[in-house]
Amino acid sequence: MARLHQQRWCVATALLVPWLSLASPSLVKVAGVSPSWAVLWLLPWALVDGPVSGALAGLGLALLLDGLHPGSLSQIPALVLLGWWWGRIGRRGRPIERSFNLGLLALLGSLALNGTLWLQLALLAWRGGRTSGLAGDSAPTQVAAGMEVGADLGVDPGLFATPGWHLSDLLAAGLHTLLAQTLITALLAPMLCSLLLLLWRQQSSTLRG
């Protein structure tokens, strides 16, 4: 049994994910969208360290990343499930080594992550509510201010109650982000994940041996 999570410095490398997300180096961007660093780090970790450790690592990473962003969108469900799934793949059958397989797994993971975010936005838009903590204080003030103006101009105040997101916006912006992030993540995965995978395998075998 691998015990990667008992090595403190191995766990500490997870801090690279929020750091890279914040720094967002412009070299590895497609159409302004950064790769999903969480997927790139979580994939080799879960493959080596198993489903439970993978799911917990996913949860930790998602909590860190959600803290960086305002609003109520969450990456927790996607990353936990991905950690669990990749951990099971790593345990069963022959170990995954070929870079093409890593790329495909990262592609599916990035698709799932972006898909859940898209779904959450779609649900929030469908519910018609304002979608963020910011909106919590600003939108009503804005609407109130607008209503004053609207009353002066003879405008129907009901116009202010329409939600910010429309389905067409979701299709345009969400699809762009999803495609760009999936593409760059899947392109980087064979390079970065195979290196990390080698490192984690070496560590776990020295720990075991």
């Binding site: 914040l22 972006n114 304002r130 963020s132 910011l134 003030t141 804005q142 103006v149 997101w165 992030q181």
Partner: protein
Amino acid sequence: MPALRWPRLPSLRLIQQASPWLLLFLALGAIRFSKGAFLNDLYALLSRPFWPGTAQEEWLRSAQQLDDQARLGQLEQDNKRLRGLLDLQRGAEQRITAPVISREAAGWWQQLLLGRGSLAGLHAGDAVLAPGGLIGRITQVTPTTASVTLLTDPHSHVGVWVGRTQRHGLLTGVGTSRPVLRFLEKDPQVRPGDVVVSSPASTLVPPNLTVGVIQSVDDKAVPAPEAVVQLSAPVDAVDWVQVVTRTP
């Protein structure tokens, strides 16, 4: 009674002798009927070496700029004084410069992280300006950082108006690089190229800050027309921003 005599035709020799003068008068007649076209062209050709050069144009332009700047300053002062008279502004404005330490201008979240926070006097809700105009508002602050939600973020709603037609609208980010301006009236009478500024009635952002330019108008949108706005500040390139804080 003398017989009516036909006037004698001038002899051919006379016509030959006078032909230069005839030609001259023909030319003068042509000038008269063309309203001096030839004469003007001739004058332009001859006076070309003495036309005002580029240097003179630059002087004039710099003088014009100086004039514009002076008038802008005057108008701003005047505006402030009048707003003071109307009690529109509740507190003094202060501008704090802050560096951008993280930038995420595309994707699911569109935000900047500034390297100054509540210790420097920033508050959530402050408007953030870049060279070129308004780019967003501060969402949350920590002691040394502040995160800015850009106007392009789907969570951003800011009241703006089109100065030319004086129509109000709600500028909503949709996740792309160009936010959507939703008008409040059925017939906003705007067209591409109109400049969008922050609303004088807005309680959230300072009035009359440049936001962007209308790129296209969709008249058939429901419930009210929409326009796509190109922001005037280049969000991808800003390194330093100014935060407008209000001291009550």
